[in-house]
């Protein structure tokens, strides 16, 4: 059995084996092998000049990587946790994302910023943010998040090969997810969503940590006679409109699952895109199942916050399968009056 963390580690090894310009650096990635052990053994195997620790400064790590990429290397840097990456945001938004554009293609930055993200592991404050929307909202970045062990390997290799900067978001709670795989292989390229479960009654769109929730909900929903199609986006940017729209046009119903706060999030973008492209095929409103619009809660309360199977099933109940209109929002308005 291979875990997602091991698959990521194998991807880094294969990339470093294949191209000596690939360097791994960040905080605790050397001797320790990263706090999630994703870089385990790299310093020993490739030397501590190819996998090395840096001063504890995230802006420094990313800004230094920009210079190294300008100098011909392919840095793969690790931000230790989602919320610890915020000091690097200026470097990411103002330089990483824009360098190709502002130099009219003369300087490209083939670098990967790995960010363990999202919750569900009982982390204390500042260790569980879903920060993908900040990056997805920044043109020039590719934003990738694997949901399966196979994809973790494939997408990370794809990210390292990509000529553009990639924010590679690793769902923490899936690090220890396992798959029985004989050989890790490259799967689909960026920009292709995967249909993880074909179905006919409604489409559930998810990414990263939301995918297992969606799949579990689809299994549970069979008991109520629902045959759900589950789509794993794999890459938020570039976004696969074609696969999502084709599915929803066929099923006529759509639920979006995203762990982040819902307001102005990636889930909102997906819902809007589905509505724009599938309006005339929709039989019910596009619904979102997301985290609440609250700062990420303390670990003992996080299960109240995270979208789970029951919330997805609740959303299905509102999809007007028997043509009864969903009156939830009407009720709220009337109640308030």
């Amino acid at each position: 059995m291979t875990t997602m963390a091991q698959a990521l580690n194998t991807a880094l090894q294969d990339a470093m084996d294949g191209d000596e310009r690939v360097l791994v650096f960040g905080e605790d990635v050397g001797a320790l092998g990263g706090v999630f052990r994703v870089t385990d053994g790299l310093a020993a195997k490739f030397g501590d000049d190819r996998c090395f620790d840096t001063p504890l400064a995230e802006s420094g790590i990313v800004g230094f990587a920009v210079g190294m990429a300008m100098g011909g290397y392919r840095p793969v840097v690790e931000m230790q946790f989602d919320a610890f990456a915020y000091p690097a945001f200026e470097q990411i938004a103002s330089h990483v994302a824009k360098m190709r554009n502002r130099t009219r293609g003369r300087i490209e930055l083939p670098l990967v910023i790995r960010i363990p993200y999202a919750g569900g592991i009982g982390g204390v404050e500042h260790h569980s943010d879903s920060s993908e929307a900040y990056y997805a909202h920044t043109p020039g970045l590719k934003v990738v998040t694997p949901a399966t062990v196979e994809d973790a390997y494939s997408l990370l290799l794809e990210a390292i090969d990509d000529p553009d900067p990639v924010v590679f978001m690793e769902p923490k709670k899936l690090y220890w997810s396992k798959a029985d795989i004989e050989r890790l292989e490259r799967t689909e390229p960026f920009g292709r969503a995967a249909v993880r479960r074909p179905g006919t009654d409604a489409t559930v769109v998810a990414y990263g940590p939301g995918v297992p929730v969606a799949l579990e909900a689809a299994d549970a929903a069979t008991a109520e006679g629902w045959d759900l199609e589950v789509i794993d986006l794999r890459t938020i940017v570039p976004f696969d409109d074609a696969t999502v729209a084709e599915s929803v046009r066929r099923t006529g119903r759509c639920v979006v699952v995203a762990e982040s706060a819902g307001f102005a999030g990636v889930g909102a973008e997906i819902a809007a895109r589905v509505q724009e492209r599938c309006f005339h095929n929709l039989l019910a409103p596009v619904l979102r199942v997301t985290g609440f619009d609250v700062p990420y809660p303390p670990p003992m309360l996080e299960h109240h916050h995270l979208p789970d199977v029951d919330r997805v099933l609740d959303a299905l109940d509102r999809l007007q399968r028997d043509d009864r209109p969903d009156t939830r929002y009407l009720d709220v308005r009337d109640g308030a009056a």
Binding site: G63, M70, G71, H95, R100, R102, T103, R106, D164, F239
Partner: protein, 368 residues
Amino acid sequence: MAGRTETLLPSAEPVRFLTDSGAAARGRTNYPTPDPELLRRAYRAMVVGRRFDAQATALTKQGRLAVYPSSRGQEACQVGSALVLDENDWFFPTYRESVALVTRGIDPVEVLSLLRGDSHCGYDPRRHHTAPQCTPLATQALHAAGLAYAERRKGTGRVALVCVGDGGTSEGDFHEALNFAAVFKAPVVVLVQNNRYAISVPLERQTAAPSLAHKGIGYGVRSERVDGNDPVAVLAVLTAAVEHAREGNGPFLVEAQTYRLEPHTNADDPSRYRTEAEAEEWRRRDPIARLEAYLRRRGHLTDTDVAAFSAEAEEFAESLRTRMNADPELVPLGLFDHVYGTPTPQLDEQRALLRAELETTSTPEALS
């Protein structure tokens, strides 16, 4: 450790070769006096640079530039930073380094693209080994450190020189850049042009350190401070700093104490935060006049030279004026170029949308 401390700390007083009037300054310095030929080149570049700067300010008043941050009074630093580098070394400028970029040999129209507003970077950074002019403060110092480290790993012998202002030294990235550069022994020279004001905020609000150069010791970085209006001293110290980096001794921090004679940009009003008497005092330390007096006294500069350089500067400005009076070529559909190596399907859709808009309003050239 004490010995090491002493070698890291800057001199007790800013390094000076010239008095305010351009005579030889008293006191000794360990820095070799720059070669007269280099000083002549610096003089010529400063004369051309100042004329360029005046022309750019004029073009802004005529509406040809969106904004122009003048470096008048800082020519010794502008020219010095460009002249101490080899062609293959990397230069990391801020938005105020237009004169340095012109001195580095970049087409002045390409230099002004950013400030005219037709492009974020008019020149080819790879061809000139010069990063785009950086507007966010001190962020580019990390790029310089990273690139210098890359060059060290590759063994190319190249160095990087990055410009930062006094205000920029308060930014976290300044600190992180010096720290990374020192830890990784990156061959990078960090030149702080301390022109005393960050727009309106005086140096006293940026730091309580004895000098900005004193910050270097906190990172284990060799540091020096220099009279930034003394071109001989600036060239001497920067030459030593570049050699220090090139020889594998790690980074070098130089604080050049100078003064911005003009407003921060054309949109600024310095009378609100500094006195005319203060500016007048700095005008008396004019770097061009000081170097001219020095070179003339030593027989390295004649009336004929001065007249020739002045004529060259006029020609340079005239040519710039003519070229800048032509409207730049704008390609609206170019908005979608170079966002990614290969456009996303969404960008292709948006390009088609803009193209359709243009087709109803524009000439065929705009659609190419």
